[in-house]
């Protein structure tokens, strides 16, 4: 008989209620005895001297000559940088990107390279504000380069993209014109989850619609077994094609970093712990926090969690050739995130937190709630999904009909005009995506406001396609209305007990129940239960 990993806690009749995120609230829920609650691993130790590690990585790259050997006076260099969508929430200063960019700039200065521009690789995300950019890069770099030589990528600027070629998969690759005309591109990553980094960085971050539509589509997603394992991801394969084509044409030096999962600073550290292991002080603090959040207005609740930067520690930095660097980083990411779990479950509880990569500084709108459930949390696995095929997801979130008018203007129309017509990703793609992607008002808001591109809500819906094709039902606990869940095709329950009872109606007898207790971020490394025939075979 296998022994569960210490982060997999099986509840019994004496177990205390679990405290789970439901948006920016924390709620106490009673889960049935036998439920397996999966907790994140404790944070790995950070690098003892991250700055020295960066310097070492730059001068001892993997599969490539050192950065200084590539430099010559008068050359044109573009530094591309991951945007604010990771890590979540933003990390305390100095951010890993600052630790990398500062020595890189120093090296460029020493080599007499002065044609240098820094581009935030936003793709179709909202632009980062000046304040946010200063936070991730530090005041010195910001003051020196902003705004003329440090700016957000604009995928809609007339003449702003250069066609580089077409991949074997038929994807037309158009890259940011400045990057495409550079002698050297230096890509600075902060890889927070394993589907990011590697070829995806340039293949999405600095391209436009013609390229993105080649891999951000429902057909690709449906063929993708696992978002988080690049080797098993059709999406990653397509992005690899784009990345390789770019690297055939241009010289790219990759620098990837990653962090541990220390999401909460000392005062809130107890939020990551097993509720049965809290000391009396922590228990009181947790109860106090749960009560306080109930009475605070929504913006104040969001501020408590979002405005306080996380004390993430850098756990690794590698530089050089794309694949070698990414493989080394993935090893660290998996080491931190993967919690071994034996067997899938018929019913899985996913608490939906207040934050996602696509709503930094904004409310998690209903479309993003579905993305978090069916796109992200369901796919945070290695091996097979935690939920059995056709099983029931139970999610916790108020599902308020609330959208940020500045960041998500196109989401409103997508949610309220298109989804009521169809939830079929393929139909949405064929009937509406092209028109939305060229919507003049929304594109203007993407370019000069703080909005996501109008094609982005489509990509979000496609992101959930994998989960939608896999799960049976979704039941929402704690929704403050019926119609938002109904638009998403979800059922509602007033309490967790009611949701479990409903889920059991369509589950096998004595179903297996799991709770994926995020935050912080983690992955379930699920080994499937052997099939009955295999058990019989082994015992005979």
């Amino acid at each position: 008989m296998s022994v569960d990993h210490p982060c997999v806690v099986t509840l019994d009749h004496r177990s205390k209620p679990r405290v789970l995120f439901s948006g920016d609230q924390l709620v106490e829920v009673d889960l049935p005895a036998g439920t397996r609650v999966i907790y994140a691993k404790p944070p790995m130790d950070g690098l003892p001297d991250p700055d020295a590690a960066v310097r070492y990585a730059l001068s001892h790259p993997l599969g490539m000559e050192p950065l200084y050997a590539k430099l010559r006076p008068g050359m044109r260099v573009t530094i591309a940088i991951d945007d604010i969508s990771m890590p979540l929430p933003q990390m305390k200063r100095p951010d890993c990107r600052q630790r990398v960019v500062e020595p890189v700039l120093k090296m460029l200065d020493e080599a007499g390279v002065d044609d240098v521009e820094l581009i935030i690789a936003t793709a179709f995300h909202r632009p980062m504000s000046a304040k946010e950019i200063e936070h991730i890069l530090g005041k010195n770099t910001f003051d020196r380069f902003w705004p003329d030589r440090l700016y957000n990528h604009d995928a809609e600027r007339p003449g702003g993209l250069t066609y580089l070629g077409t991949t074997d998969d038929g994807i037309e690759v158009e890259l940011n014109a400045r990057a495409a005309s550079s002698d050297l591109i230096i890509y600075v990553n902060l890889t927070f989850v394993s589907m990011n980094g590697g070829y995806k960085s340039l293949g999405t971050g600095l391209v436009g619609y013609r390229t993105l539509r080649g891999h951000h589509n429902p057909g690709t997603i449906r063929k993708t077994d696992s978002y988080m394992e690049p080797k098993r991801s059709h999406l990653a394969k397509k992005m690899e094609g784009v990345g390789k084509l770019i690297e055939e044409k241009l010289d790219v030096f990759h620098i990837e970093t990653t962090v541990n999962n220390r999401m909460f600073d000392k005062p809130l550290e107890f939020l990551t712990k097993n509720e049965d292991e809290l000391n009396p002080t922590e228990e009181r603090l947790l109860k106090g926090l749960v009560k306080t959040l109930k009475f605070l207005p929504q913006p104040a609740r969001q501020a408590i969690f979002e405005r306080v930067p996380a004390p993430y520690d850098m756990t690794g930095v590698f530089a050089g050739e794309c694949e070698a660097v990414h493989d080394a980083i993935l090893e660290l990411v998996y080491k931190q995130h993967c919690v071994p779990v034996q067997g899938q479950s018929d019913i899985v509880v996913f608490p939906i937190p207040y934050i996602s990569p696509y709503n930094v500084g904004a409310y998690l709108n209903p479309l993003l709630v579905s993305v978090m459930a069916e796109g992200y949390l369901h796919n945070l696995h290695k091996g097979v999904p935690l939920l059995k095929k056709g099983g029931t997801m139970i999610i916790l979130h108020p599902c308020s009909d609330k959208f940020d008018a500045d960041q998500h203007p196109a989401y409103v129309e997508f949610f309220h005009k298109l989804l009521p017509q169809t939830r079929d990703a393929m139909e949405l793609h064929k009937r509406f995506e092209k028109t939305f992607a060229s919507h003049p008002a929304y594109i203007q808001m993407y370019r000069t406001g703080s909005a996501y591109h109008p094609a982005h809500p489509f990509y979000m819906w496609y992101w959930g396609e994998n989960g939608r094709q896999h799960r049976g039902r979704v039941i929402v606990v704690g929704a403050d209305n019926e119609y938002v869940p109904s638009i998403l095709g979800y059922e509602t329950a007033r309490t967790m007990s009611e949701a479990i009872r409903m889920a059991k109606e369509t589950a096998p007898t004595d179903p297996s129940i799991a709770c994926f207790r995020i935050c912080p971020v983690m992955m379930a490394e699920v080994t499937p239960d052997p099939l009955p025939a295999q058990i019989e075979g082994s015992s005979s």
């Binding site: 950019i133 902003w146 957000n152 604009d154 600027r157 008018a405 003049p440 008002a441 203007q444 000069t448």
Partner: protein
């Protein structure tokens, strides 16, 4: 041409001018300094009444303002209108106006400017921005002189919506697929009859309405992608 039209208000929406700016230029360039002084003085005396009209009824305001054109010769207006465009209007075109109109055309939309300004000047602006058509106010002329009256229909407030409905019908366009852009609460009727309304630099009352109905709010005068805080 596609199946829809994008209707743009002009003053405050695409250009940082209002009806007063070109009027001052027209009046300041009369055939003699005395005539200029008299026209400007006359308009100035009626300023309080016009301000009241502006707050109550945009059409009444237009009629009061353009009544001061009475007696101006068609030739002079024609000559001055190009100067008004070059010196007053063109330098005040918002930075992103051209891109936005180009984006509409890329999306297959026909572009129409609809404005209370005079057709004399707007024809140059439409040409410059690449608009397909314009609907603007027209002065009544008799014997080569302006009578001080506007030809019907006067382009203002709710009338704009009526003119758009007529225009869309003429071109066989479904208003549900059309879009409209304005900066002013007085243009709520024209914004309300299309399927895709949007506000550009909206006034306070229009912002509140736009927020309530999830109408996009656009800034077309800031540099693109992320530099807006520097300018605020």
């Amino acid at each position: 041409m596609g199946e829809s039209t994008a209707y743009f208000d002009v003053d405050g929406t695409l250009v940082g001018t209002n009806l007063i700016h070109p009027t001052i230029m027209y009046f300041a360039n009369q055939s003699s300094p005395l005539k200029s002084v008299m026209r400007l003085g006359g308009a100035l005396l009626q300023a309080p009444a016009m301000a009241w009209a502006e707050s109550r009824d945009r059409r009444l305001f237009n009629e009061m303002l353009f009544s001061h054109y009475k007696g101006m010769s068609e030739d002079r207006i024609a000559v001055l209108s190009e100067e008004v465009f070059e010196d007053i209007v063109k330098p005040r075109i918002f930075r992103g106006a051209q891109d936005l109109i180009a984006q509409c055309k890329n999306a297959g939309e026909r572009v129409v400017l609809i404005t209370g300004s005079l057709d004399w000047t707007i024809r140059y602006l439409a040409d410059h921005l690449g608009a397909d058509h314009f609907i603007a106010n027209r002065l009544e002329m008799k014997g080569g002189k302006a009578t001080g009256k506007l030809l019907r229909p006067v382009v203002a407030g709710p009338e704009k919506a009526g003119l758009m409905i007529e225009d869309a019908r003429t071109h066989g366009h479904d208003l549900a697929k059309c879009s409209a852009y304005s900066d002013s609460y007085s243009d709520v009727p024209m914004l309300s009859v299309v399927g895709n309304p949007a506000c550009i630099n909206p006034d306070g009352r229009l912002i509140r309405l736009a927020r309530a109905y999830d109408w996009p709010i656009l800034d077309i005068d800031s540099p693109a992608r992320g530099t807006m805080e520097r300018n605020s």
